[in-house]
Every structure is written in C-alpha cells, then in structure tokens.
C-alpha cells in the first residue's frame, strides 16, 4: 500500500469519521442503558403500591427514555455500515470474531429490546400491569445485553484471543467462543462501561429533577426521582471506580504502552509513581528526558500498586517499550518490527507459492500458521504475534498521543470521583428536605449533566486512542485496515455525517427539552 499523501489523508479522515460517528452514538447509548433500569425500578414501585403518582413519574421518565432510544438506534447502525465501507480490510481480517458477537447482539438483544419496547411504550392499559412491568425490565436488560456483545467485540480488538489466523482466507477464525467472551479485557470492559453508563443516567435524572426544583414545579416527583437516582448513582459510581481499577491492572498486562502513555510514564521503574494531576510539557520544551511536566502531583509507588498490586513492581515506561529492556524481558519495538516483517513476508510467500501452483511450498508455509505443530506454535508466538509491527516504519509509531490520553484519563477519573461526593451530598440534602433551598447545588446538579457526558466520552478516547496505532492490538495497524477509497470521498462523507448527526443531536436535545418542560402527564 503506497503511503502517499492521499493515502495518509484517507487514513486520518477515515479515523476521524469513525471517531465522530462513534462519539455521537455514545452520546445516546449510556442514557438508554441506565435510564431503562431507573424506569423499571420506578414502575416496580408503581406495581407494588398501585400509587398513580408512580405511574405518572414512570411515564415521564419513560418518555425521555423513548426519545433517546430512538435516536440512539439510528446512530448505531451507521457504525456497522462503516466497517464494510471504510474498513473493509479490517472487516475481512476479523471475520468471524467480530461477526459472531454482532450477530448475537442483533438476533438476541436487539429483538428483545425492540419487541418489548413496543409493549412498554404502547402497552399502558392494553396489557396487564405484570406483563407491562416485565416488558420494561426486559427492555432494560436487553439494552445491557446489546452492550455486552459490542463490548466483547471491542475487547477482542484490545486483546485478541481465542482465534487462529487462516492464511488461505486471510481471516481470523474463532477457535474458542468462551475465550473471546470471557477474556479479562471483555469482562472488565463490560462491567466498567455499563456501570459508567448507569452512573450517567443517575446524573441525568438528578439534573432534570434539579431543573424542576429550580422552577418550583413537580417537587414531589423531582425529590422522589432524586432519592432513587442518588442511590443508584452512588452504587454505580463506586462500582465504576472498582472496575476501572481492575481494568487498569489488566491493561498493565496486555497493553503496557497504553498504560505508559496515559500516565506519561517514559522512564520505567519499580515503585512507579502515579501522577494524580499534572500539566505535561510538549516534547520540544523538555530540557532533559525527565523534564516531562510543568508541574505534577505524584503519589509514590501508586502506579506499581495499581498495575500489579505490588508497590515494588516494575512498570515499563514508554522508553522501555520503544528501545527494549532485556533485564525486564521487554523486546524493543525495532525488534518487533523486524519480526512482524518476517511474518508478513511469510504470508506473501505463501500467497505467491499458491498462485504459482507450488503446492509443496505453499503447504509448508501454511503449516507455519498452524498452532498444533511445533514449528507453527513457534512461528505464531515469535513472529505472527508481531504481525502488525511489520507495517510500521519506525518504533516511534507505536506510541499513541500521550497528552490526549493523560488528560482524558484524569478528566474521566477526576470527575468520577467527584460524582461520588455529589451523589452523597444530594442524597443527604434531599433526605433532609433542604435541597430546594440550595440553589447553588441545584445548578451544580444541572451542570453535572454535560460534564458527565464529557467524562464519559473521555473514557472512550482513552480506550480507542490508547490502542493506536493498532486497530487490533499488535496484529493490524489502522493504516492497514482501511479500504482503498479516495480521500475526497471520505472527506465529503465526514462532513455530510457531521451535518446529519449534528442535526439529529440538535433535534433530540430540542425534543428532550420540550418534553421536560411539558413535564409529567397532567393529573
């Protein structure tokens, strides 16, 4: 693939387009995931008490859920569409691995949601209260099940396991569905992502409720909603922190460069400090290799403890991963590039032998991709494992954008920790009945909504930009995954999608705000 200017532009615009469409999708998904459960909880209270207040409250939040759900569905479809149009090499390469979770998602989870969504929305007074309640719970569960399969697919990109590469079809073929589903990255990613989404929904509910209190409207509904949402939010704020911590430990094992980059950790060492906060110096301003920050607040040993549960553990720095560290058993990126090139050349030789009809040679080369033979096992572990490195021209290309990851991580974690405090304070003031008097707190609750969305997006920036230059960790860089379409096409579609999605977002926000202003059904 010639790396001319048009090709480089095409990669960047394709990445930008996917990032933009994925971020737009993620504006709607977390609220669907969490608000579904909050609505189910409220309807359960209505079911148990028969109090029409709870029916009215449930229907109000369900209306907002429905608006968000509808737009969210449309934004998700475009991503699957893009895999085929802009990322055809990637789509073919991942083959069954991606296809299986997405197929399960489509067949099981989506139909569960879509079928029972109609009952939930159309079925008030038309089906039994029990069936209606069950439908509401099934929609909420279905949404999280959808998320599971998408996140399993994404986790495989971060940590490809449970597959073997077939050189004849140029596809990865799944050898163990359970290894893919239950990989440590998949498990942690699922629980961390959904719990952060549940937290966001809690912030949304308290933010909207705060608006009602500021306007002096629907005080009973607002306070009842806050009571439920703050408990829900507190539980999932803590669970998000716990799963985030676990995710960090997993990343230390399987994506050490991502960890090093998000910590701006250049020089590896034992008792590695965690920089709680700092301002990273641009490279050209650094006087010495250690001169990384304008200022920082660091906690000694904390990075080692969080990564390996051992304050004395060695945490590899960016420089270790770039230049190698034989004492720590770390190969240099240059060595990985050489091994990757060998793997690519072997694949090319197989293709050439097969085209020339040299059956014996083709078979012997094909055997190198067979994990059941000694030669194959050795080749796969020592060469094919670095396949993607063979496309890189310099070790420095293995380093993702350090400042972007550094700040994204701190925005996400810092705001997440603040939300624990906010939930506690709001819950307490609401319990005392003094919340409506504290207008500054009500404004903070409203402001928390957009900031939580930003923090939530920051988490995905960390996950996806942190994986660069890889689309599949170590196996396929982004540059090898794109379709060979003219960059002009991608530029045009980028701006068309931007216009379309922004229009949809504006429409949704306007419709949501209008529904909030209308408030619950009239009594």
């Amino acid at each position: 693939m010639p790396m001319d200017a048009d090709f480089l532009q095409m990669i960047d615009w394709s990445r930008a387009q996917f990032a933009m469409t994925a971020m737009y999708h993620w504006l709607f998904v977390p609220l669907t995931l969490g608000l579904g459960f909050l609505v189910a909880i409220m309807e359960t209270i209505y079911y148990r008490t028969g109090d029409p207040f709870w029916r009215r409250t449930t229907r109000f939040w369900m209306r907002l859920f429905a608006v968000n759900f509808a737009i969210g569905v449309a934004t998700g479809l475009i991503l699957e569409f893009e895999f085929g149009t802009n990322w055809s090499n990637y789509s073919h390469f991942v083959g069954d691995i991606f296809g299986a979770p997405l197929a399960v998602e489509g067949i099981m989870a989506f139909f569960l949601e879509a079928t029972f969504f109609a009952v939930m929305f159309f079925g008030w007074d038309r089906v039994s209260r029990r069936f209606h309640l069950a439908s509401t719970w099934l929609v909420a569960i279905g949404a999280s099940l959808s998320a599971l399969w998408i996140l399993v697919a994404n986790a495989w990109m971060q940590y490809p396991v449970g597959m073997t590469f077939n050189p004849e079809t140029a596809r990865n073929e799944m050898t163990s569905f359970w290894e893919v589903l239950l990989s440590p990255v998949a498990i942690n990613k699922f629980f961390h992502t959904v719990s952060s989404a549940y937290l966001l929904s809690a912030v949304f509910v308290i933010g909207v409720s705060a608006w009602f209190l500021l306007k002096g409207r629907e005080e009973r509904m607002a306070r009842a909603s806050i009571r439920i949402a703050t408990i829900w939010g507190l539980v999932f704020a803590l669970f998000t922190a716990l799963t985030g911590d676990k995710s960090g430990a997993v990343i230390a094992e399987v994506q050490p460069m991502k960890l090093a980059a998000m910590e701006a950790h250049y020089e590896g060492g034992a008792k590695a400090p965690l920089v709680a906060f700092g301002v990273v110096k641009p490279e050209h301003l650094r006087q010495t290799p250690d001169d990384l920050f304008h200022f920082k607040v660091a906690i000694p040993g904390m990075l080692s403890a969080m990564s390996y549960r051992d304050v004395d553990a060695y945490v590899a720095g960016i420089d270790d991963l770039l230049y190698g560290n034989p004492q720590q058993g770390i190969l240099s990126a240059a060595e990985k590039i050489e091994r990757g090139k060998t793997a690519i050349e072997t694949l090319a030789a197989f293709r050439a032998a097969r085209k020339a009809g040299e059956t014996m040679r083709a078979d012997s080369l094909k055997a190198l991709f067979n994990p059941d033979t000694e030669a194959g096992k050795s080749f796969l572990e020592n060469y094919f494992a670095y396949f993607g490195y063979g496309y890189l021209s310099s070790p420095e290309q293995t380093v993702p954008n350090v400042p972007l990851l550094f700040y994204s991580f701190r925005i996400m974690v810092g705001w997440g920790m603040f939300l624990v405090l906010l939930m506690l304070i709001v819950w307490w003031q609401n319990r005392k009945g003094t919340l409506p008097r504290h207008r500054w707190l009500l404004w903070l609750m409203m402001l928390a909504v957009p900031i939580t969305y930003v923090a939530s997006q920051a988490g995905w920036v960390l996950a996806e930009v942190g994986r660069q230059p890889w689309v599949i960790q170590n196996l396929l860089p982004t540059s090898a995954a794109v379709s060979g379409i003219p960059s002009g096409s991608v530029v045009v579609t980028f701006f068309l999608f931007l216009l379309l999605f922004t229009g949809l977002l504006v429409a949704e926000v306007m419709i949501l705000c209008k529904q909030i202003k209308i408030g619950p059904d009239k009594v």
Partner: protein, 72 residues
C-alpha cells in the same frame, strides 16, 4: 394463531397511530437512514470487497492488501 397475529398487528397499529412525539422521532430516524443508505452509499461508497464475484478472489485481494508493505 391467526387471531394472535391480528391482535399483535392491531397493537402496533394503534400504538403508532397514538404516537405524537414518537412520530416525529421515527420520521427523523427513517429520513436519516434513507439519506445514509439510499443516497450516500450509492454515490460515495464503492463495494470494495463485494465487487469480487467469488470468495477466493476476495480472500486473495485482502491477502494482497495485507502483504503489500507501505511504500512497496
């Protein structure tokens, strides 16, 4: 069985008829999907892999892409 199907159909029909906000939303969604899949796709996205008639040709095309290093 037929009666159940009719009841389900009426359930959805009446539900959609009673929608107010939902109708606007679904119109927006359908409009967007139409623009994406019927218009943009036709003009801007060539069928990169499906233009090959057989699976073998598709496999070989991808193999060629994967084994051509940058600046080759």
């Amino acid at each position: 069985m037929w009666q159940i199907a009719v009841r389900i159909y009426r359930f959805y029909r009446d539900g959609f008829r009673q929608m107010t906000v939902g109708r606007t939303l679904w119109l927006l969604v359908l409009l967007k999907l139409f623009i994406l899949f019927a218009i943009l796709r036709l003009f801007f996205f060539p069928d990169v892999l499906n233009r090959f008639p057989s699976e073998e040709e598709r496999n070989d095309f991808v193999l060629e892409q994967l084994t051509t290093l940058p600046n080759d």
